[in-house]
Symmetry: C2
Subunit: 243 residues, 2 copies
């Protein structure tokens, strides 16, 4: 069975957490919106699947994944599903719930990153909320990012050697934390340098994941969309503080 991923064609965004899991699983999938329009691709394909008039169980927002007759929405929910199918999470209930719990905490962090450039309204341009973005980003870098990264660093300490958040295998939560580091490095290069010195195990996990053969091959391929100013992680120099 070939999975169909529905997510915007031009950005990493929340879809990237799913892409990384599919890649590490070596799963057969098609990134639908990135197909030519003549092949049913383009962002319209993503929008169509959200229309309650036409689709059963429409999602509120992408990404969603078609897996045979199932259509699954919400990033963490998709990963819960893929974790079971592809051994990207422990199969015992306790480990399965713990992995999902960490993923949901990453989802909260992702939302906070988004709000550093869109603290007032996602429908407005960044330019229409710049002073607010500057205040929010300052608080994010000063308080929130250290709180989250410190939390994950502590979990890595608890679990041993800084390569796995959970047990002794790579999970989808590890892949997602890798993407958090990638994204924060892009968005806040100065602040992130300081943060990584403080939270070394998070940095170590990033490097370990980035060297895994399938992830490395993916990152070097054209399937990996470069970071840009339309996704969750955006680089605005005025939001990045060094101290």
């Amino acid at each position: 069975m070939r999975y169909e991923l529905y997510y915007w064609a031009e950005i990493q965004g929340r879809g990237e957490f799913v892409r990384l899991a599919l890649e590490e699983a070596g799963a057969d999938y098609v990134d639908v919106a990135r197909l030519a329009e003549s092949e049913g691709g383009g962002d319209d394909a993503v929008v169509r699947m959200m229309d309650a008039q036409q689709v059963a169980n429409p999602a509120f927002a992408p990404p969603y994944l078609r897996a045979g007759r199932l259509v699954i929405g919400q990033t963490a929910n998709i990963l819960l599903f893929l974790g079971d199918r592809h051994k990207l999470a422990p199969s015992a209930e306790s480990g399965r719930l713990w992995t999902h719990q960490l993923q949901l905490t990453i989802a909260d962090l992702v939302q906070e990153v988004h709000d550093t450039h869109h603290p007032i309204a996602s429908a407005l341009y960044y330019e229409d909320q710049k002073p607010e973005a500057r205040r929010r980003a300052e608080d994010f870098l000063e308080n929130r990012a250290p709180k989250y990264l410190g939390y994950f660093d502590g979990i890595l300490v608890q679990n041993g050697d800084g390569r796995y958040l959970i047990g002794r295998r790579t999970t989808y939560a590890d892949l997602s934390l890798f993407q958090i580091v990638e994204g924060l490095r892009y968005a806040f290069p100065k602040a992130m340098k300081r943060l990584e010195r403080r939270f070394k195990r998070v940095s170590q996990l990033h490097d370990f994941i980035g060297e895994k053969p399938r992830i490395r091959a993916y990152l070097e391929s054209t399937r990996r969309i470069p970071f840009n100013q339309m996704g969750i992680f955006r680089r605005y120099a005025e939001l990045d503080r060094k101290r």
Copy 2:
């Protein structure tokens, strides 16, 4: 087995979604922080459980639920667990994932409600971010709330008679949507009157859940903490717009 819920003693907050599920399930549970300090209660009991130095698998934030040897964090994750144990979600994979998907969408909405009064920093007072809150609340009531409520209204239309989001039984997602309506009525009474006229099925679901015997008994008990200005849903007249 008696569940232990760990959540702040003075607010409904995110813990309320768990309380509603425990009540509807008729589960045996103790709301730990609400015990006397001599019985191990108080907010300190909640804080202790987040200390990575002392606790395995600490949560990033409350609520968390102790169920025998399991300690489960993240509201939606706790509900996923309770849904399985107490038939508050379908047992088939597709229905189980769909229920969780809706819950995660409700979690996103809850975060947006929180940010109407704290758009810049959760650690600052409302008074320190009032102009920003006004802008954000205006966008929330104009765009975001109708988008979310319209989405759930559409799901209720798809599924039939406005009593169940999923299938023909009450799920934890129904209980959570009930709480959303309760909270929005408290926070934005004027705007919510207008919104409920527009999204009638969401309103119907609220009334149906509120009349369920166990929920009704809970709401009338002292176990239900009244809404106040410390939770997710807060009433600031200047943020509530009528038109």
